[in-house]
Assembly symmetry: C2
Homo-oligomer: 235 residues x 2
């Protein structure tokens, strides 16, 4: 009655960690160690296998920590990628043969993403990651496997989430101006927003609380400060 | 260098097909065949293993067809579920032992959902499905594995997608009234909507096209008709 002759797949997680500072949106990449002297640079998203008996969310946190040293980053699952050819590129074969027992296995990967303040992070490469680096989202090189596709999907998801104002809550200082909020949105969406329309739309956000307080220590006319009331996280 | 001693997981897909008619929102369930005479009813979402070398989207379509006969349904991936205990409930053990080579395997499942017009569908049970049935979303019984959780997650996703107006495009007749659109939204969201606010918000939808045409054959004052211009489907 068992009609599944071949269903032993490998499952991995890949983490797309976006980093934000005042002026840039970057993503955290690793350079994978090369045992042989092929010298092909293999830049990739931090990712690795899920263990049998391990929860997916747990695996995402573990893998990110093992490869980059980052801990306690809130990672949100966004999509599973299962194209059987996703790891079959010529550039990936050498690496897979060196590091994997079954280099030809069909690997389903679950994508996770996060948006963090770069200044709060101090990534350090370990395990098969040789280097970690923050790379501008507009200057992503050719990545290992289908990681360019996974990155693009994550960026679209981040932008959609930003449009619905779910994402920026943790990135700004506790008290911020609407100009700071607009700047963050422009950076993520990669386009200028009309100031009047932006203010009209953000004022509909229930979680945005106007404070009875203004900026201090600025040379221009001090702007009003706002804060966010955190909504319950889904799941 | 291979630090993954145990990473042979099983991967499956589960399909949450919501069916809509004028007055109800239902979901398509199957009763799983029981080889032995335990007589425990095992109601479940249609789902089964992904084959090695098979694309996930393809697997979702194949599995839905194999179990329910439905073909050509647009299925959208929404979440991966990987809790190692998700198939370890006592009620599931008997069934797994009968139908699976590795009844104790850790199975990651990828959830897909769809929203269809029930009248266009004619499901017929086959493979290990004995019966297919449309069940009201408010009357879901205790399901196999973690399928109650998967169903709830799909329903939340459907509601979120409805709030952003992405979902209802294919469910209404080609030409429809705003009352019909509001009724569909109320059914999915499971709450009454204020008519004035609803109309104000839907009129902002670019894809909603007012037609130079009114209802025919109604006893009340005929309402204006609208149609949708389909947006590009994302991936």
């Amino acid at each position: 009655m068992d009609s599944q002759p071949k269903n032993q797949l490998n499952v991995s997680v890949d983490c797309v960690v976006f980093g934000f500072d005042e002026n840039q949106l970057k993503v955290l990449l690793i350079e994978q160690d090369q045992l042989s002297d092929t010298h092909i640079p293999l830049t990739a998203l931090p990712g690795d296998h899920v263990f049998e008996g391990e929860d997916l969310d747990h695996a995402a946190g573990r893998v990110l920590k093992e490869l980059t040293g980052l801990e306690g980053v809130y990672l949100k699952q966004f999509h599973a990628f299962g194209n059987p050819n996703r790891t079959k590129g010529a550039k990936d074969a050498t690496w897979l043969k060196q590091f994997r027992k079954n280099p030809d296995a069909h690997i389903i990967t679950i994508g996770y993403y996060s948006l963090v303040r770069m200044e709060d992070m101090n990534p350090k490469a370990s395990s098969f990651a040789k280097i970690t680096e923050w790379v501008d989202v507009n200057e992503i090189p050719d990545l290992a496997f289908d990681h360019n596709e996974i990155f693009e999907y994550a960026l679209r998801t981040l932008r959609d989430d930003t449009e619905s104002y779910h994402i920026s809550f943790e990135l700004l200082p506790k008290k911020f101006t609407l100009a700071q909020l607009q700047h963050l949105h422009e950076l993520i969406l990669n386009r200028k927003l009309d100031k009047r329309n932006f203010r009209k739309s953000v004022k509909k956000i229930e979680e945005l609380i106007p404070l009875n307080e203004k900026q201090k220590g600025v040379f221009h006319k001090p702007a009003q400060l706002f804060s966010f009331e955190m909504p319950e996280r889904r799941n």
